[in-house]
């Protein structure tokens, strides 16, 4: 079975982001970029599924600027077989991404799409669900465990009350949660070999998808500064303060 794993290039999770002075977005100049951590978990899961014999080929696809090739190379170093870059400097919104992925799915005919539940830049948590809807496929989101048997997958999800297990018919869209696995460090030899694996270069126009934005960002601002706290002597004072603040 072939697995399709979409990956996104985002600001590295260790970087403390700065808002641009004109409040139009986040400053990306000279900022370290990496693969979205949830995408990395999805790649790891795909590689593990292949190691268990549940998958035969892993194709990674990214939508983004030319540098997103590095993100694809990271996935190839972890064990994916080949990549597709749909190159655009446009910031593509979830629906645009889902439409492009649908086109890739139609061309590649994978047995499942395994992807991150969200990207840490926009935190939209929308693409996987939209893709499943566009394809008319079952979806199993926020996976913390995946078992594939024959033509179906059992997916465990962490829900408020405990664990929920879904059984979905394949092909399906499965999105990865944080605790699905701990991604491996690609080994030095695999990193070097990944440079020779093929990456297909495409553009949104090749798939006839219009990726022009439908949303307008009005303003991006810093979160409010955290203010210093105060110590209270006893519960009575605490209640008094809370009343004062109008919280209770």
């Amino acid at each position: 079975m072939k697995l399709l794993v979409p990956v996104k290039r985002v600001i590295d999770y260790n970087v403390k982001v700065r808002v641009k002075p004109d409040q139009t977005g986040v400053d990306l100049a000279n900022v370290k970029m990496s693969m979205n951590p949830f995408c990395e978990i999805a790649v790891e899961e795909a590689v593990r599924l292949r190691e268990k014999g549940a998958a035969s080929e892993i194709v990674v696809v990214s939508i983004g600027p030319a540098q997103a090739q590095e993100t694809i190379r990271t996935a190839l170093a972890m064990g994916a077989d080949r990549g597709i870059l749909i190159q655009t400097d446009q910031d593509v919104e979830p629906l645009g991404v889902a439409k492009l992925l649908k086109a890739v799915v139609e061309a590649e005919a994978p047995g499942a799409v395994v992807m991150g539940k969200q990207a840490i830049d926009g935190d939209n948590n929308a693409t996987g669900q939209m893709l499943a809807a566009l394809l008319g496929w079952p979806q199993a989101t926020f996976a913390s465990a995946i078992t594939i048997t024959g033509d179906s997958a059992e997916v465990t999800r962490e829900v408020d009350g405990g664990l929920q297990t879904l059984k979905v018919a394949l092909p399906a869209v499965i999105t990865a949660d944080l605790r699905l696995n701990e991604p491996r460090f690609a080994s030095l030899p695999n990193i070097m070999k990944a440079k020779k694996k093929p990456i297909d270069m495409k553009t949104p126009a090749d798939f006839g998808v219009d990726v022009a934005p439908r949303l307008t960002v009005l303003k991006v601002t810093e979160p409010p500064k955290r203010e210093g706290g105060a110590k209270v002597a006893d519960a009575a004072e605490l209640v008094g303060k809370l009343k004062e603040a109008g919280v209770i």
Partner: protein
């Protein structure tokens, strides 16, 4: 030329390094930052690196970097040449804990003689375990009465039937207490270089006593005194021809010196990085330390020496990559690199003042590692003498 005053900016851009080296450097740095950097001070104080680090480094491919693919290494080619080796040495030195490198990469001197001179059976028996991090191998040459003067070593191996009987002592053996294999120089023949052989000795053999030595620096790596009393070694553990070991020992030195020079120059870059970060923060007499002329000159001097040394390092490595054996250059490069390290460790410490004397930081550890760099792998005095001889003075 230097393009900045941090670790990367201080390295003159190499005309011999390209995209493949950049990929290698980025991959190594990511792994080292996750697996070594956060624990460096702790391991140095503890006097050892955890056993699992060897296996992790084996899985990652660090231990096998540049070694034959047949034994689990990366092989050599466009994706691993001498400059990838320099990058590896530099990135490990960025941790500022030479003892961790000495412990983890101890096979870098112990294994090459086996791969160069050993039988196919011996290579297959030793190399895969070593490159996977399951077993370690140390090089045992120096003796209480013979260090750089290898031709005069006196540990004796006498052939008796199908084994040798080894008697003698070795000193200052890196990893000697923990390694399972010892690539050992012994005297099998008459006096001088022509009577020296290399033997692969199982460190668990009866008759071997290993004692740890306390050191000024390199705490994370053990250094041993090893005594051999009637130790029986099977003849198939002879590395290369009998009485032909001297060549194997000498050959090792060239790559060791290139590695030590890159490590020393990279450590010097760490010194400058730490000193500059401090000098930009710390204010005295109403201005930043970095605004005092005396400090600015110190930094410029350090940059000057690192730039010159690193440019020469690249030139030497290029010569080696072309198949050359520039012994005089490599010897003097090592002197230049460790002199630069000594200078930068001193000057950076002066800039940090009291903070440089407190344990737990990179600069303080590097200061304690100056001597092992300047003496180990051929002292400055021996290096100058060797160069003068090579240049037919």
């Amino acid at each position: 030329m230097a393009e900045g005053l941090d670790f990367d900016g201080l390295r003159p851009r190499s005309p011999f390094m390209g995209e493949s080296h950049a990929t290698w450097r980025a991959a190594l740095r990511r792994w080292i930052d996750a697996h070594i950097m956060p624990f460096a001070a702790e391991w140095d104080e503890a006097g050892a690196v955890p056993r699992e680090l060897f296996v992790q480094a084996g899985d990652f491919g660090l231990l096998g970097a540049g070694y034959p693919e047949a034994y689990g290494g990366t092989g050599r080619g466009p994706d691993y040449d001498h400059f990838h080796g320099i990058v590896t040495s530099e990135e490990l030195s960025r941790v500022g804990a030479g003892g961790i490198t000495a412990a983890l990469m101890v096979h870098g001197i112990g294994l090459p003689p086996i791969l160069a001179l050993g039988s196919d059976e011996m290579k297959a028996r030793v190399a895969p375990d070593v490159l996977a991090g399951r077993r370690q191998i140390s090089l045992a040459i120096t003796e209480p009465d013979a260090g750089s003067d290898v031709a005069n070593l006196s540990t004796r191996a006498e052939r008796r039937g199908d084994h040798y009987v080894v008697n003698g002592a070795k000193l200052y053996i890196t990893g000697g207490c923990t390694s399972q294999w010892l690539t050992t120089a012994v005297r099998t023949g008459g006096p001088g270089a022509g009577g020296v052989s290399l033997l692969l000795i199982d460190a668990a053999s009866p008759g071997i006593t290993r004692l740890p030595l306390k050191k000024q620096g390199w705490w994370a790596s053990d250094t041993a005194q090893i005594f051999f009393q009637d130790v029986e070694v099977p003849v198939e553990n002879l590395i290369g021809p009998e009485n032909g070991g001297f060549f194997g020992i000498m050959m090792n030195f060239n790559s060791e010196r290139l590695g030590m020079a890159s490590g020393a120059l990279a450590s010097a870059r760490v010194c400058v990085e730490e000193a500059v970060a401090w000098a930009r923060e710390r204010r005295t007499f109403g201005k930043r330390l970095a605004d005092h002329q005396v400090i600015r000159h110190k930094v410029a001097e350090m940059v000057r020496r690192i730039s010159a040394g690193t440019a020469w390092l690249d030139q030497c490595a290029w010569q080696v990559a072309q198949g050359g054996t520039p012994v005089a250059d490599l010897s003097l490069l090592k002197v230049e690199a460790t002199n630069t390290l000594e200078f930068c460790a001193r000057e950076a410490s002066q800039i940090l003042g009291g903070a440089s004397y407190m344990r737990g930081a990179r600069l303080e550890r590097i200061y304690r590692e100056v001597r092992v760099n300047a003496i180990g792998g051929g002292s400055e005095e021996i290096m100058r003498d060797l160069a003068a001889r090579q240049l037919a003075l």
